[in-house]
Symmetry: C2
Subunit: 431 residues, 2 copies
């Protein structure tokens, strides 16, 4: 007996209609072909992975029956205590004095962002975000069916009453602000101290939490560090448990994304809620990976915690610069320099781009009328160059003439050659 | 300047009110003290963990720069292809012919269950489940704010119109059925073939998907295997892509829970949706753990896949019994026997309990009027014995006189002694 193929659509929850097929990530699979110079990925360079430290740490975690019994067993939902202590020490060095009770371990910062959507957003609620912003955050929030409004911390936010009125007019309420303050995905830009203060003022007036996505924060090449929003808010309120800023951190960009280890640092009541969400979501992060990440962090970070404990400096001093991170900074800086030089050399008039002081991305704005999605088709087919069209990073259908270029994976020579080919194609389209 | 501690409650989404503090899991932390004989846990015995295989597999995954580059990098959201192929072969041996397109890797089966709630349940929708049922599934679903109705596949479900009318009267719609058909958490009971057929008939009449939580299915000690619901449904419909059954599997109970590796097996369109949900939730499962789990499975499972390919027998034949699983079965069977013998020896009249043919749990019903939660307080304080009061496994506030006993962790002698002490206390309460 054969039954027709069922139609699953009517069975799905309402929120499923907001789960967009991520054309970008699907695209990425095609773009990472050999022979293509890809500026699309935005993933760390495996040349930087701490392979030896990882090998030793896994062997150590499985070296005795007792250790293995813990490494291969279920574990607590909040995460490994020693790892949370280490992270608390590392947060202290950024100006965020906190304890392990302020930390929950997540599967990368992506899971932290998704949990925060779940915790804070009812359907129809308003989330404030820059446009463009990190696509993964939009995907995570969208399952909660929010409305978005635009944050402009650098060029000038609207007033609190204006955001509030716009939400009210849509039958909504402003519930959170989300930002990537350092070397943002996708623009590479960093919020100035003044912009951070304005954003915190706005959040206080609106009485909303601020989600600080710090994925790239440790990868500064040059210029002066700006304190995390959370550190600035603690300066204002007196303590982490009085702060409205919720910090999402990760080891993915500095050490390795393969262990999927990130964290959320926040007021203790928020962390307790997130632990419940973690429990319902997947019980706990893999015990062995947490043990290993702690050992890797300890081994590559030059006893940074010991030095950080007790002095909560607001800016990253040379003494809190870690060996591994220093290596990553030098590595990506050279690649960024190659990309900026090639852009200056080859790009036709009418194109502009950002100058990131860190991170993995340059954001290019093409002359009006050039569609980056259409350009990508030709770039892959004719020039063997890939990038991510910028439109995906906007919620409102704008940004067709923008693109995100990542310099993290290609070699220095390929960066120059890829930009040369891409620029030639843009010149043709323009002309 | 010091700001008062903020009240976070008004900031939370509506669904947060349904995220219950898991008293049980909090309790468990206290109960796993040394000196306590704990029947509370329900976690696998670390004596069974494949430590040597894990050690070798991690070393191999990090043995060359190329392998390490993949093991420590981001990876695809659907999961490692070779692992999905292996799982597809293993599903075939259970009567579920499928391809890797029918498999998505999740962080244990818990994450699969949570994703399915997200995919299928809008607020107010009705989920059918047995009472009692797995607490973790209730926690996962509850974030979607469902209504529950009771499934009784063994003693007789109500009619489809009755479930439909009850839902309608509550302004709701029946959207899914969830069951743990084999050696269920918490009762240890297994659905007969007839009960499975009745459940599938009901699901067809209601036109709803059935979530089959197979966490314990491989741990049968005795009696005849009953085919998975998914295999039975495929017999009826002709193929996995025509089946309404969604299977949640895991390596947690047979190999190790510490790598958090499970899977969902379902019709390809459902799997494509789950991949999107995985992407938004945490991008992907740890690449290294998936590589390692594949190697462990290969090394301990005696080339079971090769034999299974091509013949889709509906019952587990001796030739598809794996060495590691056979070891686990013998190990837990001896512990179950010890517990059943002690219950028969010591329990006062008026107590009844289940006789599990596999898995980790025995479910005890105490005489009416004995409150298991109150008993637990005394059991821990006076008898140094712990268990889980059964009420937590019910959605409706019933089950106060029930308790879940797990025999998985204590040694055989401790099992006898613990039951003796517990029975004495129950005898006192009764008398």
């Amino acid at each position: 007996m054969t039954v027709p193929l069922p139609d699953w659509e009517p069975h799905y929850a309402r929120r499923a209609s907001r789960m967009r097929a991520s054309e970008i990530r699907e695209l990425l699979k095609l773009l990472e072909q050999p022979g293509i110079i890809s500026f699309a990925g935005g993933i760390p360079d495996p040349a930087l992975f701490p392979v030896a430290a990882a090998r030793e740490a896994y062997a150590a975690a499985l070296s005795s029956p007792e250790r293995a019994g813990a490494a291969l067993q279920y574990s607590v939902s909040e995460g490994n205590l020693a790892l949370r202590e280490w992270i608390a020490g590392s947060m202290a060095s950024l100006g965020v004095a906190c304890t392990p009770d302020n930390i929950v371990i997540t599967n990368g910062s992506q899971q932290g962002i998704e949990f925060l959507g779940k915790l804070l957003l009812s359907p129809g609620d308003t989330a404030l975000a820059t446009a463009p912003t990190y696509l993964g955050a939009l995907q995570a929030f969208s399952a909660c069916e929010p409305r978005y409004d635009e944050l402009r911390p650098e060029d000038g936010n609207r007033t609190a009453p204006s955001y509030r009125d716009a939400a009210q007019a849509a039958g909504s309420e402003v519930k959170l602000a989300y930002v990537v303050p350092d070397f943002a995905n996708p623009t590479g830009e960093t919020l100035t101290l003044a912009a951070r203060q304005r954003l915190l003022d706005l959040a206080r007036e609106l009485d909303i939490p601020v989600i600080e996505d710090a994925a790239y924060a440790a990868l500064r090449f040059e210029g002066e560090s700006v304190p995390p929003l959370q550190a600035l808010d603690i300066r204002h309120t007196g303590s982490i448990d009085r702060s409205r800023v919720i910090y999402c951190g990760t080891f993915s960009k500095t050490l390795t994304p393969g262990l999927r280890t990130g964290w959320v640092c926040a007021a203790a009541p928020v962390v307790r809620r997130l632990v419940l969400i973690k429990q319902a979501a997947d019980l706990n992060a893999p015990a062995i990976n947490q043990m290993v990440m702690l050992e890797i962090a300890r081994s590559v970070y030059e006893s940074q915690v010991a030095r950080a404990r007790g002095h909560y400096a607001l800016s990253a001093t040379p003494s809190s610069v870690f060996a591994q991170v220093a290596r990553a900074r030098g590595h990506y800086r050279a690649k960024r320099d190659a990309m900026l030089a090639a852009l200056a050399n080859y790009m036709p008039e009418g194109c502009t781009w950002t100058t990131p002081e860190g991170g993995l991305f340059v954001w290019v704005t093409l002359p009006d009328g050039i569609d980056a999605a259409a350009l990508l088709q030709r770039a892959v087919a004719e020039a063997k160059v890939a990038f991510v069209p910028g439109g995906a990073f906007f919620t409102g259908g704008t940004g067709a003439n923008t693109m995100r270029l990542s310099y993290s994976l290609p070699g220095i020579d390929s960066i120059g050659e890829g930009i040369r080919r891409l620029a030639a194609l843009i010149g043709e389209q323009k002309g």
